[in-house]
């Protein structure tokens, strides 16, 4: 199957493929270093709390959400524009050999509270660059009859563009936040700058 695919390629490209398929010389010293490093590692086991470490979009398990709501309300500022000079002094993620190259302090997400007063709405969601503009990702909730819709979303420090979506189709900016320039689609969006360590 693959051989046929290769044969349809330009001869020069076929040559590149053939050359690239050749094995590379492997440095035995590097391999020995790897085996030594492995020997120094703790034995791997099946983890019980896999949900903690699975890569996931910003959906917190229910207990954590409750903890957030109870304890971190002081962090987010109501409305769109948020400045956190002193965010929570979160512990650094456990350092691993293979971590992405970022300063640890600047990647800890902050809980940002979004609020929209929309008494006539049947449902409200927040969408933005942090959830792929997915209307189903962050539905907001309303407690009483006063039409105040809220949600906490963990956002990485930095600039984020977002919008509210009312009743699934009506996109509107946050009245309490700076405006992003025209979105190119005839709507207006909002901007939030989430504080972190200095850039």
């Amino acid at each position: 199957m693959t051989e046929d695919d290769v044969k349809t390629l330009d001869p020069y490209v076929q040559w590149i493929v053939a050359e690239a398929r050749r094995p590379v010389a492997v440095d035995d010293a590097a391999r020995r270093r790897l085996l030594e490093a492995l020997r120094a590692e703790p034995q791997p086991t099946r983890r019980r709390f896999d949900w903690l470490l699975e890569p996931r979009r910003f959906a917190l398990p229910p207990l954590a959400t409750a903890a957030l709501a109870a304890g971190l309300m002081g962090i987010g500022v109501i409305g769109g524009l948020v400045i956190n000079r002193d965010g929570p002094k979160a512990g650094r993620p456990r350092a691993e050999v293979a971590e992405t190259p970022r300063l640890p302090g600047s990647i800890v997400p902050r809980a940002v509270k979004f609020v929209l007063i929309a008494p006539q709405a049947a449902r409200v969601a927040v969408v933005g660059d942090f959830n792929g503009w997915d209307v189903s990702a962050n539905p907001m909730t309303t407690q009483g009859k006063d039409g105040t819709w809220t949600i906490f979303v963990p956002l990485h420090p930095g600039l984020h563009t977002y919008s509210f979506v009312v009743d699934g189709t009506h996109f509107m900016p946050d009245p309490a936040a700076p405006l992003a320039p025209d979105d190119g689609y005839g709507h207006q969006s909002s901007v939030v700058l989430v504080g972190g360590s200095s850039l």
Binding site: T2, D27, P44
Partner: protein
């Protein structure tokens, strides 16, 4: 001895079973890392990080996945990390004369210089095109496997492979006409 069985042995306490897995995959992973990153130091870093991470995350490996695919996913991501870390803006300068001297006359013969040439030519490709090209034609994965591995859709991957081939061919056309 299947990969899944070896993984189970490691989790049950026979850590030497992991070195069998390393033996089985090291050279193949090395080839991808060298072709992808273009130099051995970075490739060795990628290999080290890949196998260490695989070892540490072994508890998360699901038997229904192919071990090689699982390992390759880690490898591809490690290569991306390392490439991002170093300054990729330095464009590799390819000496035109070297290309002409090594022009394929439909009977390519192996010399040490050819490898350097191939590395340089591959390095000219945008990293994501190079990655798709290598996974398809050097690692000989199917598009479905590549999609699972990279999280990118099949049509996007096909497009990247096609663009990679077009770029390589165009490069050659321009050289040989000089």
């Amino acid at each position: 001895m299947s990969d899944a069985a070896d993984v189970q042995r490691v989790l049950n306490g026979d850590v030497d079973a992991f070195s069998r897995l390393v033996d089985r995959y090291y050279e193949r992973c090395a080839r991808f890392a060298v072709r992808m990153l273009g130099n051995r130091d970075d490739a060795e870093d990628a290999l080290q990080a890949t196998f260490l991470r695989a070892y540490r995350s072994l508890g998360k490996y699901q038997e229904r996945d192919k071990f090689s695919a699982w390992l390759y996913r880690i490898l591809v991501n490690q290569c991306r990390s390392i490439a991002a870390r170093r300054n990729q803006r330095d464009r590799v300068f390819v000496r035109e004369e070297a290309l002409l001297l090594n022009a394929p006359d439909r009977r390519p013969t192996w010399t040490g210089e050819d490898e350097e040439l191939v590395q340089r030519v591959l390095a000219e490709l945008d990293p994501l095109l190079r990655e798709a090209f290598l996974l398809k034609y050097v690692e000989e994965l199917s598009y479905e496997e590549m999609s699972t591995l990279t999280g990118v859709g099949v049509s996007a991957l096909k497009m990247r492979v096609k663009r990679a081939c077009d770029r390589l061919r165009t490069r050659w056309e321009r050289i040989k006409d000089d």
